[in-house]
Symmetry: C2
Subunit: 472 residues, 2 copies
């Protein structure tokens, strides 16, 4: 069976770079570095992921909006930490037509500074709160590191939810809801992850604290899928977002945000794929089932009709199905749909029809099953469910077997993946570990997890576990 030129199991990063183009997800030949063309298959996959996000947003009463892409420099500069954090990575518009602009505008790297001056107009009273909105848009960051499709790009397909609350406690409840959204969403994507409370020096510019959603890639590096931020009133003050409380007093709002990006695709590709190509979780696979007719001379109509009939039945059951009628060999079809990660393949030939059976082949395990035509629909549905479970189980194994709790630097040096050290919570000790092990501080677990050990750098009593990894 043909496979990708580079094997995932041998050189993950090269395999990744190759597969994103081979599977028709994107085209990297656009002449601006880090800005790729989304091909139809890749865009469709993204659309299904966006669909799951929108479902979650609806369920939790967030409303979709669209704010302008361009932000006046004066808006951007109101929050000091924010401008310090993003100032070096924004694109500036200076001219319109033949005119020089009076004030420079930037392309949104994220939309706090576009939205919050408007929030201050929208919110008057406590009855306007909570305000919960989101948008799915293109954002821009001038990345100076090496770019990588879906993982490090300069035009980013971005989801951002922004909320305003009466007080810190209500904002904390939002953070709790956001975590539950992440749990549900990534479960459907068969992607286990860990939450990390990012260290003070690496939180979002302007945030009170940041929780990251990190996935482990098969290379042993972590990939940050998204983040949830508690802003307290850090933005509400400079942007004057206030409300009249029930007691008539004017107070500042407390805010949160929740961001995710096309990196989710990077994780889907990287975590689930194999040497043959993508393996897409059924929930977001653009095609969940592909039916291939196995034609013998004289039996074309019989076989094609059976394929079409099953296809119609599956479509009625809201399973995304199509029949591949192209005049190429079945082998070539299998190669292509394995490359593109279609979860389930159905084969129907004249001999099968005689036996009143069809053949189904799982993309994840390669398992081939002969099943009776009459129970095809429920069996296919169950098999898709099994594929989801299997993908989730495999991914969980990958994650679990690559989290290592250690007590000394030497132990840590020998490990790959996510390493948990006892930590005194000082920046110096964390940076020392980063230097020695060449990686990043992911942060602290957000769940209660006592650490009765000593910091391996300074030897003082540890206050927490600290997670460390090489990351994308």
């Amino acid at each position: 069976m043909p496979e990708t030129k580079v094997k995932k199991t041998e050189d993950f990063n090269e395999w990744y770079n190759e597969i994103v183009e081979l599977a028709d997800l994107c085209d990297k030949r656009y002449p601006i570095k880090g800005m790729n063309v989304w091909r139809p298959y890749g865009w469709k996959l993204m659309t299904y992921v966006d669909g799951l996000i929108r479902e979650e947003m609806e369920k939790t009463n967030h409303q979709e909006v669209y704010f302008p892409l361009l932000i006046p420099e004066s808006f951007f500069k109101k929050e000091e930490e924010h401008i310090q954090g993003f100032g070096k990575e924004v694109y500036w518009i200076t001219h319109a037509g033949l005119n020089t602009l009076e004030e420079r505008w930037l392309l949104r790297p994220t939309s706090e500074t576009a939205m919050y001056p408007i929030f201050s107009l929208w919110i008057r009273s406590h009855t306007d709160l909570p305000l919960k909105i989101f948008q799915i848009v293109n954002t821009f960051r001038y990345e100076t590191k090496q770019t990588r499709a879906f993982i490090r790009v300069r035009e980013i397909h971005f989801f951002e939810a922004h909320t305003c609350h009466v007080d810190f406690e209500d904002a904390e409840r939002q953070i709790q809801e956001d975590k539950e959204i992440a749990e549900r969403l990534f479960k459907r994507l068969c992607l286990p992850f860990i939450f990390n409370r990012r260290p003070e020096w690496d939180k979002f510019a302007g945030a009170y604290y940041t929780i990251s959603i990190d996935v482990l890639m098969p290379s042993g590096r972590t990939l940050q899928m998204g983040s949830i931020h508690q802003y307290r009133d850090n933005f509400a003050k400079p942007y004057e977002i206030t409300y009249e409380a029930e007691d008539g007093k004017h107070k500042h709002c407390y805010q949160t945000t929740y961001g995710m990006s096309e990196r989710i695709l990077g994780a889907l590709i990287g975590v689930h794929g194999d040497n043959k190509g993508l393996i897409l979780p059924p929930e977001v696979a653009p095609n969940q089932v592909v039916i291939t007719p196995i034609i013998f001379k004289g039996k074309e109509t019989l076989v094609n009709d059976a394929c079409e009939k099953l296809c119609e039945q599956l479509k009625k059951e809201h399973l995304r199905t199509f029949v591949d009628m192209r005049e190429i060999t079945p082998g070539n079809k299998y190669y292509e749909w394995e490359l593109k990660g279609v979860p389930l393949r159905v084969e129907i030939g004249p001999k099968d029809l005689e036996k009143k059976q069809i053949v189904i082949v799982r993309r994840d395990t390669g398992e081939k099953l002969f099943i009776p035509v009459e129970s095809a629909i429920p069996t296919i549905r169950q098999t898709l469910e099994k594929i989801s479970q299997h993908l989730a189980t495999q991914a969980k194994k990958l994650l679990d077997s690559n989290i290592h709790r250690v007590h000394t630097l030497d132990e840590g040096k020998e490990k790959q993946g996510i390493i948990e050290f006892p930590w005194c919570r000082t920046k110096e000790c964390a940076l020392e570990i980063e230097n020695l092990l060449e990686g990043n501080t992911l942060g602290e677990p957000i769940e209660k997890d006592d650490c009765n050990a000593t910091c391996p750098v300074c030897g003082k009593p540890a206050q927490t576990w600290m997670r460390f990894a090489k990351s994308y």
Copy 2:
């Protein structure tokens, strides 16, 4: 019954400017002129319109893609007419972070120059043709005329389909398909329109010819909803989009595009609305039915339960329905939903329940009907259908009664709306009419329509009818 401050029937343009904000479609207080914030209700309406467009694209085998927003200046400059047409209205990025870019990038005003260099890589052989793709994206034009929400903005929510063909004839077949798409789409939006073949001096920059889709607004001005362009090989030559034909020869592709924008919302608002606010066609109304409980003390549970039950039934039938349970007077609810154009209102009170009836009120006619609960679902469905028909009929009357065929300039001066003159097809005569009547040449009808008359300017035999109007 409260109405908008400004009456549509008295000052259409002011009414329009007021209603877009009153009905929560957009917020015009964003500090960059012509860049408005899409509020949830407006964005949802746009989403439903986009949904109809996507349905049409799927039906006609167009595939959705996403190309980068930023275009290198060198790409943009390859087609001479195109740069002349758009050069004065693009935004330029000159800096990224603290660096000056080596080459300037522009924000797409439309995506020919981003896509076509990539098409030249995608297309190799006649078997790759036709190529039919589309995207729905934000585009940017530095408008110098007065801006107006959804009608003349600087960040535009834009649909663009691009196709490549083996020859002129196949591209012409695409134009035919595009026209059929427009017919179906605008029928569902209850918006009658006319096609006009734009005059040579006002066609799309780089096109061989342009067909515009024009709607008549109640102000008597026309609004161009979209356009369909035949490019021939005008772009294929500079962008080197070639294919190997069956005979082994390399030939240039023939191309077409089809563009539409958020102006569709402008037309929906303008054509269908009335003094009370929006009237949304059921196909795209974010809420198709709103149910209001009429509460009397002691009967709350009874009434609310009946409302919820009907709501669930309607939702099952895929009718976008909700119950307005807010603790404000029914009158205030009616005011709000009339303003927002919900096509059908249902009222349920204890007396109605005793009589086993419910009350339905049409937004378009104000008609109030008492209908038996047991036939509620089919009656509501039929009534929504009637509303669509009524909106379409009213709009068709508006259009038909404002198209005037005349033979002299004096006759033309007395008319409002769309005026058809005999025309010799010279630019000079058309511009003379534009000067005298202060408006624009829309172009020629695309249907065969003989004109046995003389040009009212030069007196020579007319070759066609020419449509003229004031336009947005």
